[in-house]
Homo-oligomer: 394 residues x 2
């Protein structure tokens, strides 16, 4: 096996030096140059400011440079992006200011993160909306068949009252890829033209997102998973119609068109969903990590590397008796979920951790999940497969 070399980026990640790491979908390792960029940014802010006429061009430049870079990744104009602290904030904040009507239905996939589901439940409770479930988590076939299955499930689940669809781009549980652009096209034909909220927690940095981000109304991402940026900074891409119709809810000086004026007018662009002071050095760190990824190839090329590794892992898992990958074919990206017959996933994760091998378990469907990135090495895969073989035999 293992006809590949890990990305040279691996050597820049201290987190990968002392462990066998498969939790990119939880948090990506921070490359040393990005930590240095963060530190340099803090030093620049202290040198120029922290609150002076000299520091604002630096702060503004750092933020707008990252906004332009992410706009390019997301295939939307920079004005359609809002920075957030994390992906949950990006998913939820724009929802509260939409013009809901009593009885509107929120159609939520059965593979969404509990946090987003809980937020939708609370929104429904306060606004007297109803909730419905879009079944996608059992879609385990290859991409083309999965696409058809999801669109059929959507067709069956839409009602005249559907007003919002919530669907992840890459399911955090099974690793299946959802046909976001097709879903958006279908929703455009619905008389209500329901809003499309896409949780992109697992997609930005692992799969090309431009088509999906441009098609969704809310496409929420974080910098600290597959992008390998610092924790505490995310971004959400918003559609033109959402920017026109949604008012901000969590409001601070950054939401306001003129901070010094008493008019209270909000920015017309994505900044209306930004709030107040956030940590500028994190912007410098994420810019650095994105630049390092760009240097490794286009998003298509990087996905091909990720898939080579996940396919190898998927095949290796399939060869172990009593291990069963959740997907029927090699994964569309870097998430490889599987079950081990007769073994409690949490216990197995702990035992692997004791050997310095880190993956995670998931509650629903109950399974283990190993992620491969371009920095995954052949030795990582061999070590995990051997340890599993060993623990399963024990």
């Amino acid at each position: 096996m293992a006809a590949f070399s890990p990305s040279p980026l691996r050597e820049l990640m201290p987190a990968l030096a002392n462990k066998v790491y498969f939790n990119y979908g939880g948090q990506g390792p921070l490359p040393t140059p990005s930590l240095e960029a963060i530190l340099a940014s803090w030093r620049a802010i202290q040198e120029l400011g922290p609150f002076t006429g000299s520091v604002w061009p630096y702060v503004g430049g750092t933020v707008s440079s990252l906004r332009r870079r992410l706009a390019s990744w997301c295939g939307v104009p920079p004005e359609r992006l809002a920075f957030t602290e994390n992906v949950s904030s990006g998913c939820v904040l724009p929802l509260w200011g939409l013009p809901w009507q009593e009885g509107d239905e929120l159609l939520i996939s059965d593979a969404e993160h509990h946090g987003v589901v809980a937020a939708c439940r609370e929104l429904a409770r306060r606004q007297k909306l109803s909730l419905a479930s879009l079944p996608v988590v059992e879609t385990r076939s290859g991409s083309e068949a999965a696409r058809g299955a999801v669109l059929q499930a959507l067709e069956r689940s839409l009602t005249p009252r559907t007003r919002l669809v919530v669907l992840s781009h890459l399911l955090w549980t099974t690793g299946q890829l959802m046909p976001i652009a097709d879903v958006a096209a279908r929703l455009a034909l619905h008389p209500n033209h329901p809003w499309l909220l896409v949780d992109g927690a697992q997609s930005l940095g692992s799969v090309p997102v431009a088509e999906a981000a441009a098609a969704a109304d809310i496409y929420a991402c974080t910098g600290h998973k597959w992008c390998c940026g610092p924790e505490g900074l995310g971004v959400v891409a918003l559609s033109e119609r959402l920017l026109e119709q949604a008012t901000p809810t969590l409001i601070g000086w950054r939401s306001l068109a003129d901070e010094a004026a008493d008019t209270g007018d909000f920015h017309r662009d994505g900044r209306r969903f930004e709030v107040a002071t956030s940590c500028t050095p994190l912007f410098a760190g994420l810019s650095s990590s994105l630049a390092l990824l760009e240097a490794e190839g286009t998003d298509q090329q990087r996905l091909a590397q990720i898939r080579q590794r996940s396919a190898e892992l998927w095949e290796g898992l399939g060869r172990i008796t009593s291990v069963r990958p959740l997907l029927d074919e090699p994964p569309p990206a870097g998430l490889v979920s599987f079950t081990v017959e007769g073994q409690d996933p949490a216990t197995l994760v702990q035992r692997l951790g004791e050997r310095g091998i880190w993956l995670r378990n998931l509650p629903d469907p109950s399974c283990l999940r190993a992620c491969t990135h371009i920095t995954t090495s052949p030795s990582d895969l061999e070590t995990l497969l051997e340890a599993l073989q060993d623990l399963v035999a024990a």
Copy 2:
């Protein structure tokens, strides 16, 4: 003049090495040991994690250690604190989940930050509430007279429909101190017992806050101003009754009592208002800055130092023809606002900046504002006063 020495902390702040700094109320300088603590935290997370069974005790310990320290500063149990990204989030987030009724009145002081006012306006628009103004900004007398004036204004402004009062602890414009505990006591006698939201942006780190934070329903603070911590981390202290009656609005995995369960039950304590991933190293940085301040004396002792410097500045300003401090007596804390006859504040700020002297101008009332902290030196005060004398004469 100048019978004092600046705090030794000054020598640990690179931002103070190359400028004359009076913008502590905008952002405090970050001490080098705090930047080192941030860096060490990032390195520890990479060494142990970033997403492993080994890293969670470190992350949990860093967060809960800061929570305990801030609880002690705020005079409330740790369970009543929620961490936020900034002070605006702390003010606004708890408001959206309160049980409002159409026609409830929000009584907002005329000295609040535009961001909070805009958030209240949007809340009022959506929930069909009314807005009223509590006049406090013209209160320019010494503390005891100011206390009486504010309580009289409150008495005149309360109506049977008042349901929320919004008041800063230390007014960001004039620097006047508000009698928060007295206001809270008066509101407890009102049939509605209106909620009390206190913007503590200027107070934590400059004046003792325990009495006010324990008396308010929402007491929102930030770590990056008078506490001299990193930007991007704040905290809000919440009353028991607010935690019982307010549901969270910006919801993520950190809001949930059991992240892995599908119940969607929220934490009963302050964590119900926390959202999702934030930047753990910032917690280490703020802990470091608070410890450095603690080492300089009790909050009362530090306030005495701050007031010694602000009084000296206030007196010096009063000696310059055509300069007029806004307050009639030496300031209760470190904010010293003033006007200069015949001069545009923005232009004057720019001219001072050209000389490496940094303060800010404010729109309403139109004025300049210079802040003194324990790190302010006699030379800082002399340089500012001489430059003003010079520019005013020019």
